[in-house]
């Protein structure tokens, strides 16, 4: 029998969800509505005049081959950031979970990078990989590898992926570790007694039981890669070389805040919003089925 807590009347529940609704309305629905509205105009930067262009901004964007190319760039970037940051975090969490001594220290150290702002993280990585004075560049040079992310597109993409994933590993680590510790020891011990080795236990017991956490992190990390990484891109590559690291959100920033083209920038935000909504719906519809709560 399912147990349900029910309220009498509808005023109390309404009152209880009201703060959340208000916050969503003020900080999400209102700005999103503004973006949709603005995307239908070409305004001048000072707000002195606005010209109605209907879907003109969208037509302008989608007919631009460079804009269309940045969809592919964004897909590659987001998948890499999500896979790298979740993979490394899961690996570290499994290791930290098995620790008996000094686990507190390890955990604290692993969580630290999360406190570093994305733009600052970008600068740190940029220094290490600076083509002339970077420490890593120097060591690579000793090994005979000529690192030059200023002109090499693959290297530039690698660098922004690593820099964007780095701080994210901490966040994911925290959730994975909590997830791992919530798995009852008795289940794992029972499997061990039955003769299941570590890898077998991980594959058949731990990972499935961790799936709610993994699913949550998947959604959150994709949203992160889509929206919050422009600081890193801005400080490390500014979207270059050529357009190798120009992801959609960076273009929103560059066109809106640097180029003062608010109509195009608004239209791009709307497109981005649609993509992420669709992705999230797809994730909930298809991947969530395989999640065991």
């Amino acid at each position: 029998m399912e147990k349900r807590v029910t309220f009498k009347g509808i005023w109390l529940p309404l009152l209880l969800v009201l703060p959340q609704m208000l916050i969503t309305a003020v900080f999400f629905f209102y700005p999103a509505g503004q973006a949709v509205w603005q995307s239908l105009f070409i305004p001048d930067p000072f707000g002195l005049s606005m010209q109605w262009v209907g879907l003109g901004n969208f037509e302008y964007l989608l007919s631009d081959p460079y804009y269309r190319a940045s969809f592919a760039t964004t897909a590659v970037f987001s998948i890499l950031v999500t896979v790298v940051s979740m993979g490394v975090a899961l690996y570290l969490a499994v290791l930290a979970d098995r620790l008996i001594k000094g686990s507190g220290t390890y955990r604290t150290l692993l969580i630290w990078p999360y406190a570093v702002a994305p733009a600052v993280a970008g600068v740190l990585w940029l220094f290490m990989f600076n083509t002339r004075v970077g420490v890593v560049t120097w060591y690579l040079g000793q090994l005979g590898y000529d690192w030059n992310h200023v002109l090499n597109e693959g290297e530039a993409m690698g660098l922004v992926v690593v820099a964007s994933s780095w701080g994210r590993v901490s966040y994911n680590f925290l959730f994975f570790l909590a997830g791992l510790q919530a798995i009852p020891k008795s289940v794992i011990e029972a499997a061990a007694i039955d003769g299941a080795r570590f890898w077998m236990r991980f594959r058949t017991i731990v990972f499935p039981l961790l799936s709610p956490t993994t699913f949550f992190l998947l959604v959150v990390n994709i949203v992160y890669a889509f929206f919050e990484t422009f600081g890193v891109i801005h400080t490390i590559t500014s979207g270059g070389p050529q357009q190798a690291t120009t992801i959609l959100v960076y273009k929103v920033y560059a066109d809106g805040f640097v180029g003062q083209d608010l109509g195009s920038s608004a239209a791009q935000s709307v497109i981005l919003l649609l993509i992420v909504s669709v992705l999230t719906i797809v994730q909930f519809k298809f991947i969530e089925r395989r999640v065991h709560y």
Binding site: I42, P43, D44, P45, F46, G47, L48, S49, Q51, Y60, D64, Y66, T131, R132, V133, V150, L151, N152, E153, S238, G239, G240, P241, Q242, Q243, A254, D255, F257, V258, G259, Q260, D261, G263, S264
Partner: protein, 436 residues
């Protein structure tokens, strides 16, 4: 006791309010930090101490783009400052914003200030004047690209440090010699679009864009894929392929390499002077920007980069009088001469340049006048007056992208510049539409 305190507080507030009412406050937003920030603060203090009617309050609002954004956001909220610093690429945006800005010549005329536009250096002023010659904003910090030479590196490579570097042909020979001697960075650059396309065009008297580089209308189109530009970029691409030109980044990343003594030649703004002088542990020299021998009319004059001061609409007459006073003060001879000598930026008036010369500054600091001479040697033409293009920041970005294609060997110079023109024109049409 409590009543007493609050009375005292009230009296204090009333007193400060009283003194503030007597002086009109002028808000000035700028983009300078560090040493430049200090020098601006010093100018403002000197002005405030020199008279008692106005108080200029200077605030730092971030880098150039951020300052422009802050100004725009403030205008939309009706809280705009009196004076806003805007970098040269934002000029067309500001000009198109009729109703948001008050042209400097108008501010001066309304205030009855004695203001002689002819006192300003033509090629500096030209960037910021309307097509009928009226000054729209006051040039504040202006620089122009020059060739920086590491004499020690040339000597180490067995090259006479006094060798002729006036033309790109000669520079090419020197690069060959440097490479042959094992130099890892014969040439690098900062601000590639500004130096190797915008200034290249002006210096060789060829258009960067149609309609007098945008001065006579927003229906302008890019023209930077002409033979002079294509030939130059193709040559730079060759040098990049042979390891003679080292590309360090879109902004002034190359400066770190040059200052560290790694690069022999460096094309960078004349305002790089302060930094190079402070850090370089080698013998350096400033030379005029090289030109291609055989191009008719070269060398013409180079154009400027930097920022100017725009006066915002919607302030009281009293404030505009103060603004006029302050702008007059900034362009006065002593203040300008000091600014020029302290920063390496160009003097904006002829008199300030002459005064610096009389003081013996150029003799003590050889090469500091190279930029001034390069800018003023010839009367600017329609191709060398400056550039006035909308969405120019974005256009520079796409030029950067295309040039990176050439440096990486993915595109020929012709392909890259054709593509830059095509992509840039789309942005120009959008700007034309928004400015209507």
């Amino acid at each position: 006791m409590r009543l007493q305190t609050s009375l005292l507080a009230f009296a204090a507030v009333a007193a400060t309010a009283g003194s503030a009412a007597a002086q009109t406050e002028i808000e000035f937003w700028h983009a300078f930090t560090g040493r430049l920030g200090e020098l601006v603060a010093e100018q403002v203090e000197t002005f405030n101490a020199s008279q008692s009617d106005y108080v200029v309050v200077a605030s730092h609002k971030g880098n150039y783009s951020e300052t422009l954004n802050a100004g725009i956001a403030a205008f939309r909220a009706g809280e705009q400052p009196d004076i806003l610093m805007v970098f040269e690429v934002g000029t067309a945006t500001m000009m198109a914003a009729k109703g948001a800005i008050k042209p400097v010549f108008e501010v001066m005329a309304d205030a009855g200030a004695d203001f002689d536009q002819d006192a300003f250096i033509g090629s500096v002023k030209g960037y910021y004047t309307s097509s009928d010659g009226q000054m729209l904003s006051l040039p504040f910090n202006s620089s122009t690209p020059v060739l920086w030479v590491n004499r020690t590196a040339l000597e180490a490579a067995g090259i006479d440090p006094d060798t002729d570097l006036s033309t790109w042909q000669k520079v090419g020979e020197t690069l060959d010699a440097l490479k042959a001697a094992g130099s890892e960075c014969p040439l690098t650059t900062a601000w590639q679009s500004w130096i190797h396309l915008e200034n290249l065009s002006a210096y060789h008297n060829v258009p960067f864009a149609t309609k007098d580089n945008g001065f006579s209308g927003t229906d302008t189109e890019l023209a930077l894929n002409g033979p002079v530009q294509v030939q130059h970029i193709a040559q730079m691409g060759e040098w990049a392929k042979d390891g003679k030109f080292i590309y360090a980044g879109r902004r002034n990343e190359g400066g770190a390499n040059f200052r560290a003594g790694e690069c022999a030649l460096f094309t960078e703004s004349s305002a790089g002077y302060a930094g190079i002088k402070a850090e370089a542990e080698f013998d350096f020299e400033v030379r005029p920007l090289p030109y291609w021998e055989g191009v008719e009319g070269a060398p013409q004059n180079t154009i400027i980069g930097g920022a100017s001061l725009w006066v915002m609409e919607g302030q009281s007459d009293e404030e505009y009088k103060g603004v006029a006073e302050f702008l007059k003060f900034l362009s006065s001879v002593d203040i300008q001469a000091k600014w020029h000598q302290d920063t390496g930026y160009l003097p904006i008036t002829t008199a300030a340049g002459e005064k610096t010369k009389e003081m013996g500054f150029y003799d003590e600091n050889p090469g500091t006048d190279v930029a001034v001479i390069q800018m003023t040697a010839k009367e600017p033409t329609a191709n060398s007056k400056g550039l006035r293009l909308g969405s120019f920041d974005q256009i520079r970005t796409l030029i950067d992208e295309e040039l990176e294609g050439v440096w990486a060997g993915d595109k020929t110079a012709q392909e890259a510049l054709d593509s830059a023109v095509e992509r840039g024109n789309v942005l120009l049409r959008r700007f034309e539409q928004s400015a209507q």
